[in-house]
Symmetry: D3
Subunit: 72 residues, 6 copies
């Protein structure tokens, strides 16, 4: 009985990327914890940039300053 | 001091259905746990079908295949 | 695909009360939203009294003052 | 490693108010718990008035009756 | 800025399994969404069997009946 | 109608620190959003170090390596 919630900033996540996350995490949980995928629910919630704060600043402000969340 | 969060796929839940859920759950908690309804908050969150994964698939894909969540 | 989270202060909720909440809410959702109970998951989380704040005070402090959450 | 989620009814919260909440809570956590702000994430989620229930009623109904959440 | 919450029944998940979930999901998000792992937080919450309801029954009751969540 | 959830690693947060967080956040929300404190609920959830992942590693492992979350 796993339930997974993914919160991520709304910055152009595509339908295909969401499907990759859902398939990948369901598969990982099934493999690592031996859980039936029919009992695994995953919810993705995209958050507006004004609504996510990091280090005391809105992400919308960080992005205006050119600070991204991409891998280095 | 109960707080309840209901997450459900966004598939045409009406205002009246939401009111039924809110009234019914508040009443149930009040009856079973003897809690003051003035301390009971309930939040309903509708989730887009692309954002809910079940059994490794997006619900939007399941619905396209004709698989519903209705009672049998 | 409903998922429900119930957060309530840890004040002696019994196994039977939890079962009543789970059965009652699952039944309500099934009736109001026509959802298959096999797709309905409910999670109860009990919160220590020091960890729940209401009106700016810990519930543990409110209880020491004789303020309860019971129905009037 | 703190993560904070703020759920509030959608009633005209401005970008500036969100920034005040994010800065204020990050600062409070940093001061009280001695946490690095670079490890503190805050998410604000606004909830439609039909989707928040209080005392068994939708907040949208309460507002129609003239009942607000403002300080007395 | 992703945050992930995993809720799973408390049934002997080991420290190694948790590490596999954390490493696997962080890697998946980094690959699929191109997110810096230093901005990815994952929280695992184990839920007692009396506190998880499925299909209207406590999981503790389902387990007593021999119904498991294992892959078929 | 605000509800706030604070998740933080379980590393010796005291009852007094929790009270400071509850009072401070309730006051901040009351000031910034003009919300009645009697409608503001705050829940603190401490997470075991094995159960919080950051940058792909359990916090328990990071602490063993001498990496803390303290302000620099």
């Amino acid at each position: 009985m796993p339930y997974v919630k993914i919160e991520v900033t709304r910055e152009g996540v595509t339908r295909e990327q969401k499907q990759e996350l859902i398939a990948g995490i369901t598969n990982l949980i099934s493999t690592v914890l031996d859980k039936d995928p029919n009992l695994t629910h995953i919810v993705i919630q995209e958050i507006e940039l004004d609504d996510w704060g990091f280090a005391g600043e809105q992400v919308s402000v960080l992005r205006e300053k050119g600070i991204t969340a991409q891998r280095k």
